[in-house]
């Protein structure tokens, strides 16, 4: 199943609800292009909801890291929400849990982005 991205906005935070697989190729480009457009439009706060993503490969992880650094270079914030166990394990193995702020509650995440 290829990746689907839906964006919604709560105040100045853009929540990207992702579902499917984030893998080499199309899926990763969709995230990159979408975030770049939002950055160009002035958005700086992003919350990636991964509750419906249970397969990410190393290219997908690379894309999350690239998005994180791109947003940070624009003085913005990018945080992760609702990781599945498999994605959590992958971030643990790769030590990316030390890079990303991760939340299990959208409300809690939003509080930290005010």
């Amino acid at each position: 199943m290829s990746m689907v991205l839906n964006a919604r906005r709560l105040d100045d935070v853009v929540i990207l609800d992702l579902s499917g697989r984030i893998t080499m190729g199309e899926g990763t480009l969709v995230i990159r292009d979408h975030i770049q457009k939002l950055l160009n439009g002035g958005d700086r706060k992003f919350l990636l909801n991964l509750s419906d993503v249970d397969y990410i490969d190393s290219s997908g992880l690379g894309e999350l890291v690239t998005s994180f650094t791109t947003v940070r270079n624009h003085d913005g914030q990018l945080k992760l929400l609702n990781l599945t166990k498999r994605v959590q394990d992958l971030l643990q193995i790769t030590k990316l849990l030390t890079v990303f702020e991760v939340f299990n509650s959208e409300a809690e995440a939003l509080k930290t982005m005010k």
Binding site: D54, S58, V65, I93, T98
Partner: protein
């Protein structure tokens, strides 16, 4: 009564990422044949895919004239996976540690770490006739992941 020996699976593809669909299909057939749990099947698919993408991109430099081969077979209580390419894009002992602070924000370099974290054995050797042969073994008895 004789027990039926589990099937082995083999696929050779030109070095194009579009061919990965066939790789995923073959892995799906293998995990079904070996009756792996959903969890084992997930990590098996992820790590075999990573190794085939490595073979295509790093080993064969995405040259469609070069081929990558995948073999999956059952060896007692384990699954053996062999991936061969016609290049040789890396050496296991010279790969930068992607968990090192200096490398954490790099966009690539995590595939072998993911493979090593799941597989019980990972060996890279030269392939007869040129190229590389990556052999991985996953014990499946008493393993939930």
């Amino acid at each position: 009564m004789t027990l039926k020996k589990p099937r082995s699976f083999e696929l050779t593809i030109p070095s194009r990422l579009e061919e990965m669909q066939a790789v995923h299909k073959l892995i799906g057939q293998a995990v079904k044949e070996y009756k792996l749990s959903d969890e084992l099947a997930h990590w098996m698919e992820l790590t075999i895919s990573e190794s085939m993408i490595n073979a295509i991109q790093h080993g064969n430099q995405s040259d469609p004239a070069k081929e990558a081969t995948l073999k999956i077979s059952s060896i007692g209580d384990a699954i053996e996976i062999i991936v061969e390419d016609q290049g040789c894009g890396f050496k296991l002992d010279t790969i930068a540690d992607p968990t090192d602070t200096a490398n954490l924000l790099k966009p690539s370099g995590r595939g072998i770490l993911i493979i090593r974290s799941f597989m019980d054995e990972v060996d890279l050797s030269e392939r007869e006739g040129g190229g590389c042969r990556l052999r991985m073994v996953k014990k499946i008895r008493g393993n939930s992941r």
